[in-house]
């Protein structure tokens, strides 16, 4: 409770933030009532990407352990919807998908996050491919099908489901950022040895944070696949889906909570446009990625931040740095 007060009430900025989230939420609630059929679907995709990128940034942006497992969790959510979606209401499936992703994330974390350094990235890199081939094999041998049909839901309903997942994720991340847990994560990212010395259980913190960051990906996967109506291993476990959150987060700026959201919105709109107009869109994204890492390491949000700081204080303030 104290935490809620601290994040959403105590200072002026906190109150503005709380009001803004609330206003956005209420506004979004009413969108389907006055818009046509398409905008809710479009916005649902935008929010899916936002959810993927903020949950990715929660773990990887803070700790510096780059996770490429997003596609795996996202796809697991889709498959869960395909398998049990008919028996349960959408909300229950989404919750179960989040739990499944949490569990799998926890297991992967236990295997890889005991080790420091590059092992985690290496392991998560191939995870989507592993699941892809595993499901291909399983479907080929046991169910003798390729792909499954998924129960479809009304676009508006999916929109509300994704909206709730997104808002819950956002609020949870804002709260966790200011909690002891989030601060330990930041500390691990800055210096893991120091974190251990001041009494942070680094392995448990990392594993738990990774599992938590996996849950929203599973949830949105379960929600969004019901607008497609069909799932197969190649659709569910696309390796590209693991790279998207990374790209969005870097593009928007992964050192703030809202940077990845900005990145995701720009990314999705751009993708939507480029997919319709050119087939070189991955070339464009690749170039953007290289340029952003080289020129704008803190992303668009970092750029705006430093511009504002420059204006206010007359110099380019270094906000983030080693302590």
């Amino acid at each position: 409770m104290e935490l809620v007060k601290k994040v959403f009430w105590e200072t002026k900025a906190a109150k503005i933030q709380a009001l803004a989230i609330l206003a956005a939420f209420v506004f979004m609630m009413f969108i389907p009532s006055f818009s046509g059929a398409y905008p809710p679907l479009f916005l649902a995709w935008v929010m899916t990407y936002c959810t993927l990128s903020i949950s990715w940034t929660f773990f990887s942006g803070k700790t510096g352990y780059i996770s490429l497992a997003t596609a795996a969790f996202y796809g697991l959510g889709m498959y869960l919807q395909a398998v049990i979606g008919r028996e349960f209401p959408l909300g229950v499936t989404i919750l179960l998908a989040a739990l499944l992703a949490f569990g799998v994330g926890f297991g992967i974390g236990l295997i890889t996050l005991r080790l420091r350094g590059i092992y985690f990235t290496i392991f998560t890199f191939g995870l989507a491919l592993f699941l892809n081939r595993f499901f291909h094999w399983y479907e080929g041998v046991f169910t003798r099908t390729k792909g499954r049909f998924v129960k479809t839901f009304d676009n508006d309903m999916v929109f509300y489901a994704v909206l709730i997942v997104f808002i819950v994720t956002l609020v949870a991340i804002l709260l966790m950022n200011k909690s002891r847990f989030g601060l330990s994560l930041t500390c691990i990212g800055q210096n893991e040895d120091s974190a251990q010395h001041i009494g942070v259980n680094t392995t448990l913190t990392k594993v738990l944070a990774f599992a938590i960051s996996a849950a929203p990906a599973g949830a949105v996967g379960a929600a969004m696949i019901s607008t497609v109506g069909y799932v197969d291993p190649d659709l569910a476990f696309r390796m590209l889906a693991s790279f998207f959150p990374v790209l969005m987060a870097i593009f928007g700026g992964m050192f703030s909570t809202y940077g990845p959201i900005v990145g995701a919105v720009i990314f999705y709109v751009l993708q939507d446009y480029l997919l319709r107009t050119t087939n070189l869109y991955m070339v464009i994204f690749g170039t953007v990625m290289v340029v952003v890492v080289l020129v704008l390491p803190k992303g668009i949000f970092g750029l705006i931040d430093s511009m504002i700081a420059k204006k206010q204080r007359g110099y380019s303030g270094e906000v983030i740095g080693d302590v």
């Binding site: 092992y119 191939g126 081939r133 041998v141 991955m282 690749g286 990625m289 890492v293 080289l294």
Partner: protein, 289 residues
């Protein structure tokens, strides 16, 4: 017994190509500290160069090594001195550099993969090469497999000799062991890193040329090669070239056995399970320091 021999020989043929892929990645990570996600794309690039040159002019695919290798070496070398050197400059420490380097290599992966795909399509390509059988110990083996195995083994040996005997090879090993000490003793560390990144590309090109002789490939198969190479590098030990060769052959034989007894689709999944066990039991790999 026949099945066993078949698995052993075909597995070694596949493993020798895997070894080349993994050696390249291992060199790039071991010295230049770049986990190159775009590695597989350079394999595919070399494969397409071979395919185009061979089908258009009828030149023996092996001669294409002389075209593909220098080209990919040059591209990789230039990528390092233009992009990665700058990334290194803006990164405060090695950990941050490794992260940023992975991200830049994603970018390169996107670009190269998409360029190949948009110019060549995503259908599988292959050409007939040494399609007659070759009898060893009572079993028939595709002659191309034996040929590929021999060439790959020659390249592996040549690279090992290069590392252990030449002055450049010695400075590469020194840079891998301790970059700071090596640079104090007069090794031009940035140059060595660029050369190692180039050599990684060169080995990828060798693997790419040899792959065309054995199996069909397409513009989207690069990421699969990268994954296999990464798995082998972890199995052998990060940065260890001997480990990469050993791991390549182990995974080749294991992969062929799995394809025979279970299903070829299951291969990468099985590799992954091996890696899961390995990370729990012996995370530094077979030959890791």
């Amino acid at each position: 017994m026949d099945t066993f021999l078949l698995i052993l020989i075909n597995g070694c043929a596949m493993g020798s190509v895997y070894a080349l892929m993994a050696m390249g990645l291992s060199t790039q990570y071991g010295v230049a500290r770049i986990l190159n996600i775009s590695h597989g794309e350079f394999i595919v690039l070399a494969a397409f160069i071979t395919f185009v040159v061979h089908t258009r002019t009828g030149i023996h695919p092996l001669i294409c090594l002389l075209i593909a290798c220098p080209l990919v070496f040059a591209i990789s070398f230039l990528l390092h001195i233009t992009l990665f050197k700058r990334v290194k400059k803006i990164s405060p420490n090695m950990g941050v550099f490794e992260g940023n380097a992975i991200l830049v290599s994603f970018g390169i992966y996107f670009i190269v993969q998409n360029m190949i795909q948009s110019s060549m399509g995503s259908a599988p390509h292959s050409f007939p090469f040494m399609m007659y059988p070759y009898t060893v110990g009572g079993v028939n083996i595709a002659a191309s497999s034996v040929f590929v195995m021999v060439i790959a083994a020659i390249i592996c040996v040549a690279y090992s000799v290069f590392l252990s005997q030449t002055r450049l090879g010695k400075s590469i090993r020194a840079a891998a062991q301790d970059p700071q000490a090596a640079s104090l003793l007069g090794v031009k560390i940035n140059r060595i890193m660029a050369i190692c990144f180039g050599i990684g590309g060169l080995l990828a090109a060798c693997a790419g040329v040899l792959i065309t002789m054995r199996e069909p490939f397409s513009s989207v198969s690069g990421i699969g090669y990268t994954t296999i190479a990464i798995i082998i590098v972890v199995l052998g030990g990060l940065g260890s070239v001997k480990g990469a060769i050993l791991g390549g052959f182990i995974m080749g034989i294991a992969g062929y056995a799995i394809s025979t007894f279970v299903d070829s689709v299951f291969m990468i999944s099985a590799f992954y399970m091996i890696i899961m066990v390995l990370l729990v039991v012996r995370p530094k790999g077979l030959m890791g320091r």
